[in-house]
Symmetry: C2
Amino acid sequence: MTVPYDALAALTEVVGSGGLRSGDAIPVRNRKDASKTEEGLPALLVMPRTTGEVSAVLSICSRFSLPVVVQGGMTGLAGGAAPMAGEVALSLERLNGVEEIDPVNRTMTVLAGTPLAIVQEKAAEAGFLYGVDLGARGSCTIGGNVATNAGGVQVLRYGMTRRNVLGVEVVTADGRVISHLKKVVKNNAGYDWTQLFIGSEGTLGVVTRVLLALQPAVTGIQTALCAAGSIDKALAVLNRLEARLGGSLLAFEAMWPEYMKAATEQGGLPCPFSARPELTLVVEAAMGTAAAGEDAFAEALAELAEEGLLDDVLIAQSSRDRQRFWAYREANYEFYRALPPGIHFDVSIPLGAMETAVTLLRQRVAARSSAALPIVFGHLADSNLHLSVHAEAIDLSGFADIVYALVEEMQGSISAEHGVGVLKRPYLGMSRSDAELALMTSLKRTLDPGNILNRGRILPV
Amino acid sequence: MTVPYDALAALTEVVGSGGLRSGDAIPVRNRKDASKTEEGLPALLVMPRTTGEVSAVLSICSRFSLPVVVQGGMTGLAGGAAPMAGEVALSLERLNGVEEIDPVNRTMTVLAGTPLAIVQEKAAEAGFLYGVDLGARGSCTIGGNVATNAGGVQVLRYGMTRRNVLGVEVVTADGRVISHLKKVVKNNAGYDWTQLFIGSEGTLGVVTRVLLALQPAVTGIQTALCAAGSIDKALAVLNRLEARLGGSLLAFEAMWPEYMKAATEQGGLPCPFSARPELTLVVEAAMGTAAAGEDAFAEALAELAEEGLLDDVLIAQSSRDRQRFWAYREANYEFYRALPPGIHFDVSIPLGAMETAVTLLRQRVAARSSAALPIVFGHLADSNLHLSVHAEAIDLSGFADIVYALVEEMQGSISAEHGVGVLKRPYLGMSRSDAELALMTSLKRTLDPGNILNRGRILPV
């Protein structure tokens, strides 16, 4: 499918020749996302600079029935932003910038193409914190974060992107601009329609502008690396810390022994404990400015160790220590390269089923291939596991069936935070009932009757 | 409009004669909600006991095009549950009970008709806390809380009902049961359609079952009654406490001097401070079990007083003191009766505009009638004001125009937490754009094409 001349002319009139690319002039970055999908050349790359231009572009695409793929930072892991044949790539990279920080209302108004790291920096400069943080912060954009309801390492404290968004401006497939950007925490005046767009992966509308809630900057950050003998014990630790430290906990991340083996052997990090525990935990809290906070954190962990819920506790004495502890949690980006090829998953498992799930995963992976290595880590407090299976010279896709069948059995989710895109679409029915899928389809039809927006992402074509 | 014989027979077959009432046999409780709407006799009262029965009832009503009003605890303040002529009242009062508390996953599964107070009690018995609390706790039901996205006094810490709901089961107008009750924190597998039903006031579907997130029980509750000279100072106090005490703050409630005058003069409570400050604040935090928590709370407030941000600070030394402090905040239920007749509002105003808004409110109310008394209090941290205007022998409805015009001017919301129902429907356009209203209407048409569910609530008939 090529773009008809009239459509091309109309689009050029809207964004100017500087806002259009085609053929070889389309940069590699706009041809695939961060997943293992194939590179694809869009029929055209359009880069509007304003909401008005996005609206005009979508009106034209709607009129000519041109399918559109929406692009942000291209860091998605589900293939959602990778162009399919004949699609117009609508990239928000030039719709970029922090428009306003309002310190009294504690809000930030930001254009969709702005990288998360910029949002975080500008918030910090103004004495605030933005509640979402994740590894791709330097490249991913706030529009993409909203479109995928991004999670990350601070969900325990601040929730996913949904909870950090006070309002959005979206453009629907027909070019209508719908906006809710009121600086109020509560608004029960009619349906909170903004919720529908958050996490819809660009299939219902294009997010162009976001009103974010800012948090007070955190102080007195305390970090520990802990060893726990089982998931049950780790969960008991989590419950106890939450009760004891109030709302101070920031992160509670878990790494299973196969992960720590790779982090130390392939990743080259030193073994933190004399023995390798079932669970290595990164625990972080913001204890406030009171001098007693530091002691309270250490005392709480010491007490848990005395009771036998933790086998070992290391408390960071410096920011260098803190970095050393977090290095384990971020080691996977490095050590994956040294491992055999892998297939990666991002799933939710109810906490009560997690011990069983990890045991069954190991058994079933081993039964399929004795050489295959399962690596498990994740945001334990959020019931979110990142897992991968690595093996040489065998078809890895078979492990997807193992993992997703396990997720279905445990009544979890096939996508905790990465979204569905095209890669997980075949498995959606394992986490959603027919009634849910029918409802999603009817919402898609209502908002995008021509099915031009991110066609084939989440739902079948 | 009367119910056709065939429909009546079909409904009787579903719920049995014990589940049906008509005419004089319909209790007064099912004829009006807690707002000042007129009493209305529904064509029929139907009280299903199961989700299957709700589904069958709605299928029948759909088939016979019978309009349905959904009823919970009848504590709504927007007229949403009050029957209009010819409506079948679908009351969930018999769909009642806590089905499960899962301590590992920290969830509670509960039927829609269960009172909030029961949810709170059962959570406490199991060692947890449910994050939503509000005055009507004894009568309001969890289904109604979800339908209206209820707020209350702990939104600062736990958010509104939306944030405390992990999943819902709903029945749509045609009787379809759609369910998402997975015990996971994160689920980005497709649209989070549950969000659409939360806060839709029963116009898109009937909530029958809810999966709630439970919080760790809070410990070390510290309460203070404080005097602040202005909203700006009160907001500075809020920011400082949030930064200093981490996530420990539970409540930050404000009462303006007219409110405190009524609480002391009509309500009979003693004056807490030697002078009446512009803002009287109830500040509450859960400082955890560490012994240092108590000191940290008192120290933080003392420091703010030294800096001149607070004029006076009283810290509760006992649970009796705590009750005495909260008595001011809850005095309105009593003193309203001793004041001239009033008209009540529940609005959001951006924090940055609140000082201006209160000043303008006083001026404009006085300009309309020098005898009129404006009473203002609310959840300051949530940008949510509850306000009322009291006057003898004049038409109070004119004050609605004053208040809602002010809200529109300040870019606030005409309903912060009470919803729209029928009473605020005429003013919805002052908080929502035409594009938003058109989107809401299209969602309503998609989910309830026959417009049988809570017709005329939120949106025009």
